[in-house]
Symmetry: D2
Subunit: 357 residues, 4 copies
């Protein structure tokens, strides 16, 4: 299915001035398959150079070429067949459909279409076959829309995947301690979050449950049968810059203990389609030894932020097993997730099908 | 059983220079029932004035009288019938038994004797009748030992008490986000906990489970039958100064929904024995309205730190109900808990039984 | 000049929903001289109850009476002779003049009129005689405007006052490390200030210099001759919730060493007019012993946040003496400062002169 | 004087398990001139593998080769001619002299010998000619000792160097806001530094003054005449992980304004000897535009942590000019500084003179 070295193509980034968008721009710098040619943002920024509208942050400066790209309005004409979307959901609903209608393949980090029955919600190492849903989109749009999960689900569903496959998930209780950067800009005020935890993130708990069920569901054949397990999520914001940490209790249809779970983590191999993608880490899941790991600051950057780390696997008195999961929310949970999906699409030849002018 | 205005008595504080001990000293300043007469610490401090050995912290200065108290060694002779212990567990095992042997009533925050079958583990608003276990100690010590739970259990078991009574607890999954001050001095280094969460606290998860089961167990008649429910705890350290926040999922023998649980919280009345104790808050549990509450910095100081706040009560897809619990770890979870237990004992006349010279 | 127990009067608070305004509302609860009768905010809030528009914060809840006050628009008719203003400067310029024109005495925390030659800029313990400038306002407004300094100057100028009096200030280099709450709401984002310092606060450095010179200037007789010394300020924002800490190097016309400076601090007595005001601390300046003090979290709350703490007085190789100054930016530096000025005015009989209602 | 591509040599690291030492080990991984062959630590660690004794931190894991190196005791026999020392000062005084006596060139980050008249205190871009002091050591030790400045001086003296050269420094007032990692392990407790600033760092203020004067002094010919200017330092610890930020006011013998100072910064060229060293950044000083820069989190990593960033250059009402200086305390201020000095020595042929082995 996959050509290892596909032809490079032009790409654009929608929402290029936000936290996720400007990280996408950086990740595209020097990308072997994609040439960043177009960037777009809200009308207020259109016509300005990207460099002028990218706030200083600790990701470091943009490349000179990227800095000079002139921001388009979202509903301008775009020439790139592949558009990566880091739009807020409100803007995404209209814009992404419009651009799919015009024939672009939109690979999106936004939540707007994640639960649409014909839109694939993909983690390449977990459910790359869901990409076939695109065929069901043919009636709707000449182009298409492919999505990645929200920032917690990205790590959680990756960690749950080998367990679901091996033991059959039944019940998951997942309490997240989510980083500041997951809230976008400006995000929570320092006056709110210093010496504090905020035990609420709007809509997050439902997303974590429903997206996990869709990703770990099976294709049959042109729709997704959601996974038949329950997820109870508790979402909290903690004073951490990057890295969403999740405390998980899980039970399975086939009883499994800590050793079984550890073995499932360490033996996990991504499917053929996900291997060799430029942004894919060597191993998507790493089990960190030690009593007190993973920790956001120590472990979030593994594999350039694309590795999902797990640890503290131990028995659960209530369900079967307890463990911790950590993923870099901006990379594995957002910009890197979208880019990896774009790579999956390009390797699968989906991007060339697109009739964009 | 209770004399509302008992005779004031002399008390001592063991471990008076640590975080919990020096808070006890402050809470005893102007106490209507207790006169602080003696303070003790490790041999290195013995003979020095308490004021010289109390580190500056944000609790404010000691009273002049307390500052001038001379620190005794732990195995010195003590004259006060009632001794409040804020010792580390290692020191507590030997010292508390020694002093109970010498006829003192030791009301302890240490974990050493919490699971001893003849030692009551008490939250006055929850299980004051467990104090009757003291009778079973008569064979062992002329004095006695009474304990309070660890800093997470103090809040959690208080919140669970009305639910257990009303619906019968079956399963609890509790993920804590614990404050720095719970780790004592020096506690975690700033270099470890800044921009980070540490997903491990030694021995904490077992304590949370076992202490909850003992506190919510029933007396029959001179031993405690532990509560027949399971608790799965996930303990995490977060960058918060004070206030342990816990995300809870719970199921019950008699199915209960969010409204039932809210009603149980708001109608909770402490038993007769706990009412009117000087350190008891008007209501031990307060349900905070709003999507994102309780929060450590906003809610930990309610009722001078003695109120357990709960909030975000909502359905749980996995068990029955999800909610948040918060308690000030140093006050409701340690120094205030011990003091309240001492008040319970004194009101019950237990302190006068003690033969101390 | 001062009646110790003046008649209580009605007061209003302008800008009652912001950080400083809602603190003012709390400080007025149970005030012996002032009855809070009116509150005002921007048009968007007018007509709503104050309780509905006051965000939850760690200051604790409003009183029930204050919660029920209905917010007026700023240019509504006000009946209280004395209005305390916590307006942002932009709104203050127009509104405060309008209300002074209508006969109210406006005691303001805003910067709009601080440098107006006929408007007194007062710290009651430092320059209460500047209140006489009000006489020069008679031509302009039937009411009047009295201001307090910005949040850094409030502490710095108080600490410098005894030194200027004793030795004659020549040069001051003052580097501030300012708390988050000084930036109002929402203030800096957690994503900007976590693990960071922001070395810039708009307009702050000039205010610190010019306000110090006006406050420490002398009245001659109906204008202020600014202090003849230079202040070089470096303003920085640090991850601290409350309490502005300032590192000071100073030189004097009459050479002075660390002992002289310490003696000036400890012997400082506020003038007669400032003594006995309800919000005045017993001693406005406290010298904290120890190598590493004052510290924001340990010392900002002294005297209910109205004490300016100083410490680390030592020789300066460049100027004469180095030391640290700390003040609670929201209390001594804002709400408490305005309230203390209102008390000074009321004790001086200025409020009764006002023809309002 | 310099061979651009000198022969690679073996090196050892003293104090390899501490914060600075373990960073040195990482920086030596793949170094073009130096092969890490030996590591040493306190007796408690001797005989263990380095990997077992290196705490997890956010620098990432050691290389497999480095992990396997067996720790020597400090007074063991060492075979490498060049030893990089990250010892605490207490251990450094004895050990460094012992090893210099045995013929090693010890390039040290410790403060023990920085003010010794025959020991060069070097920043390669500033005073590489001070290396000639080594000749004066010949009488004392067959080997030698070369030191780098403390973590604040490393950045400050680099920034001051072009100003001293161009205008002649007269007076410097420097207020530091220093990062947590500068305090080593364990460093300040989270309970002390959360929501706080600690205005004291033992011995730091004198070091900043005296080391700046030595580094910016001139060689004449075999001793250093210290710079004839005064430095008044105020040292503060702030809740920042890495990066020491300094607010500077400075005056000069030849009056200079902000434009002059900016021009001196931007035109600064390191001397011939420092160019092309593997660890040297292209430009040692970068002027960051913008009102609010440099900031620790945004700018500390420039040039792999070896660039000293400056910004906010503006007039000073008290002295001549005000500006900010930032340097990564662990890299430019410690491990990178020592490594750069080692490279300077090796390029100058000093290491081959050493008779070791």
């Amino acid at each position: 299915m996959m050509n290892r070295v596909p032809e490079p193509i032009d790409v654009g980034v929608l929402g290029a001035t936000g936290t996720v968008g400007s990280l996408l721009v950086r990740l595209l710098d020097g990308h072997p398959w994609f040439r960043l040619r177009e960037v777009g943002a809200s009308p207020a920024s259109a016509g300005l150079a990207l460099g002028e509208r990218t706030p200083a942050d600790s990701m470091g400066p943009l490349s000179a070429e990227a800095s000079r790209l002139v921001l388009k309005a979202l509903d301008d004409e775009w020439s790139s067949p592949l558009l990566l979307s880091a739009l807020p959901s409100s803007a995404a609903r209209h814009t992404e459909a419009l651009l799919a209608e015009r024939g672009h393949l939109v690979v999106s980090n936004a939540s707007a279409y994640r639960q649409d029955p014909v839109v694939p919600l993909i983690i390449p190492e977990v459910n790359p076959d869901h990409l076939r849903l695109l065929e069901a989109q043919a009636d709707r749009w000449p182009g298409g829309i492919v999505t990645n999960p929200n920032c917690v689900t990205a790590g959680l569903a990756t960690a749950l995947a080998p367990l679901h496959r091996a033991f059959g998930l039944e019940t998951v209780v997942a309490t997240s301690m989510q980083a500041i950067s997951g809230a976008g800009r400006p995000g929570p005020a320092a006056g709110e979050l210093t010496d504090n935890v905020i035990p609420f993130i709007a809509n997050e708990e439902d997303k974590i449950a429903e997206e996990s069920q869709k990703i770990l569901g099976h294709r049959n054949p042109d729709r997704i049968v959601h996974g038949d397990f329950v997820v109870s999520a508790h979402a909290n914001r903690v004073p951490v810059l990057h890295g969403h940490l999740v405390a998980v209790s899980a039970s399975f249809r086939n009883v499994a203990g800590p050793e079984d779970v550890e073995a499932a983590f360490t033996s996990f191999e991504p499917p053929e389609e996900a291997r060799g993608l430029p942004t894919a880490p060597e191993r998507p899941i790493e089990l960190i030894p030690g009593d007190a790991r993973p920790q956001p600051r120590l472990d979030r950057d593994r594999g350039q932020g694309m590795v999902v780390t797990v640890g503290r696997v131990r028995e659960c008195p209530a369900l079967h097993v307890r463990f911790m999961v950590l993923a870099h929310n901006l990379i594995r949970g957002a910009a890197g997730a979208a880019l990896l999906n774009a790579e999956l699409c390009h390797a699968a030849g989906v991007t060339t099908r697109v009739p964009a002018r």
